[in-house]
């Protein structure tokens, strides 16, 4: 059995092991791999940067705990940028499983770093079932949809919500999503109420979201861990995503090598079969 035949019958667990090693190496011995900034990430950064200090911004945690590795660094980077600009942040989630609690823990952790007070500088509205009704209803009155915040405090008792009644009082929506709820933010909130939006999504969703950047419905886009790393660099706070991208790059090199190897092997064995038939 020659090399190519052996490769053809290679147990896939060896590939899992190779990918595992490629992920671990950069954490033990950091590799200096460069990360360039895409125009989509830069335009999102510039749109947030252009907001007047103290603007009201909705930060939407529309992701499940399974995609924390991609989405949480985006949310953290966005919070760094928004809190640095003293923006007032209203968080909410259309994801029942984990969305409101992730919004709560991540925002509180970041608010503590910047000395921000709950109810004055930020509010977590939590989750309400039925995102179409929720997104449409907030156009008329946020309080009619969320009578209380995530902890059951009436919105009337939160000073920030005195000046935020509906989308007219929101300067920007920063959506962090791993699913199609972003489509409804576009078709309802952006299209019907004209609120500018930017999005940080999982890599799986990113190709679809590019269409919204091209049409101007998103001012910018962060695609997966790569997008999070770009934003971390733009705000000058390199963190978990930048670290993760080193592993990402190494695994990509491995996958490219495996794809090339697989194709060469395929053509070699096809050529051998033809020779045998002749």
């Amino acid at each position: 059995m020659d090399f190519w035949q052996r490769m053809d019958k290679l147990d896939r667990r060896w590939i899992y092991l190779a990918v595992g090693i490629a992920v671990v190496i950069p954490f033990l011995a950091p590799l200096p791999l460069p990360i360039s900034i895409t125009p989509e990430a830069r335009s999102l950064y510039e749109a947030v940067e252009a907001l007047p200090d103290g603007s009201n911004v909705m930060l939407v945690y529309d992701y499940y705990p399974s995609t924390i590795a991609e989405c949480e660094p985006i949310a953290v980077a966005a919070l760094h940028h928004l809190f640095r600009k003293n923006c007032k942040i209203i968080t909410l989630s259309n994801i029942p499983l984990g969305g409101p609690s992730m919004a709560e823990s991540v925002t509180r952790m970041m608010a503590a770093q910047y000395g921000k007070d709950y109810g004055v500088d930020y509010v977590n509205l939590g989750y309400k079932y039925g995102y179409v009704a929720v997104l449409s209803g907030m156009g008329t009155s946020i309080e009619s949809i969320f009578p209380t915040d995530n902890n059951g405090t009436p919105l009337s008792e939160l000073p920030l919500m005195d000046s935020v009644k509906n989308y007219r009082d929101i300067a920007f929506v920063f959506e962090v999503a791993d699913n199609a709820t972003a489509d409804y933010w576009v078709s309802i909130v952006n299209a019907q109420y004209g609120v500018p939006m930017g999005c940080g999504g999982t890599a799986v969703m990113a190709p679809k979201f590019y269409a919204y950047v091209a049409s101007g419905q998103f001012v910018g886009l962060l695609g997966g861990m790569r997008g999070a790393a770009e934003y971390e660099i733009l705000i000058d706070k390199p963190a978990v995503a930048v670290k993760g991208m080193r592993a990402q790059s190494l695994v990509h090199l491995l996958i490219i090598a495996l794809v090339l190897l697989g194709n060469v092997g395929h053509f070699m064995s096809r050529g051998r079969k033809r020779q045998a038939q002749a």
């Binding site: 991609e70 079932y129 078709s187 019907q192 592993a247």
Partner: protein, 208 residues
């Protein structure tokens, strides 16, 4: 780090490794982790719907004076008639209401919010003042959209000019699939990186 935090980290690490063990082969530890996940998800969902919908949106406002909420409540209860073969027809009333209202909401929002803006974004001038690069991109978008639409036009046989255009459309579709697949690989690797990062920094870090 408190004892509870260490316990949480060990529990998460155990469940992560238990699920990863499937990569070697199916085994009882993997099954335990899988069943815990399925059970927790179902339980959490039931509790959440009970509190955020049944109590907050229906029961509490209804007993607080908004008696007309009895109507959507009744429509919801009618859905349970599907469990009976004799009475299942009753649920069609609720389904008709849901379909009618959802269609009404979505037709407007989809047309106004997605179809028209996306069509508008495709109607590009072939000569762009932004330079040769921008012009080339505009041409690619226009050719890509038109040829892909032609590929999905099945009222005539794909022969001659129609066939050539459809074949160009297939190339664009293949490139789109490649981009989606590449991004999907990146996404899945990111999730693995997140878990490995947790295992190295939080779990192994808890030993130090």
């Amino acid at each position: 780090m408190s004892g509870m935090e260490i316990f949480q980290i060990w529990l998460v690490a155990f469940l992560t490794l238990a699920l990863f063990s499937f990569m070697y082969r199916d085994n009882p530890i993997y099954k335990v982790a899988e069943h815990i996940f399925a059970g927790l998800t179902a339980g959490y969902q039931v509790g959440l719907i009970w509190h955020t919908i049944i109590l907050q949106r229906l029961w509490d406002p209804m007993i607080g004076g908004r008696w007309w909420l009895f109507v959507p409540g009744l429509l919801g209860i009618l859905m349970f008639s599907r469990f009976s073969s004799k009475l299942s027809w009753v649920s069609r009333t609720s389904l008709a209401f849901v379909m009618g209202s959802i269609a009404g909401i979505f037709i407007i929002s989809e047309l106004h919010g997605r179809v028209l803006p996306q069509m508008q974004a495709t109607m590009l001038p072939l000569w762009n003042s932004g330079g040769l690069g921008q012009t080339l991109l505009s041409v690619i978008v226009v050719v890509g959209v038109l040829s892909t639409l032609v590929y999905f036009y099945f009222s005539h046989e794909h022969k001659g000019a129609l066939g050539v255009t459809a074949r160009v459309g297939i190339w664009f579709i293949m490139v789109a699939f490649g981009a989606h697949f590449g991004y999907t690989v990146m996404g899945r690797v990111s999730l693995l990186i997140g878990r490995v990062q947790f295992l190295i920094e939080d779990w192994l870090g808890s030993f130090l």
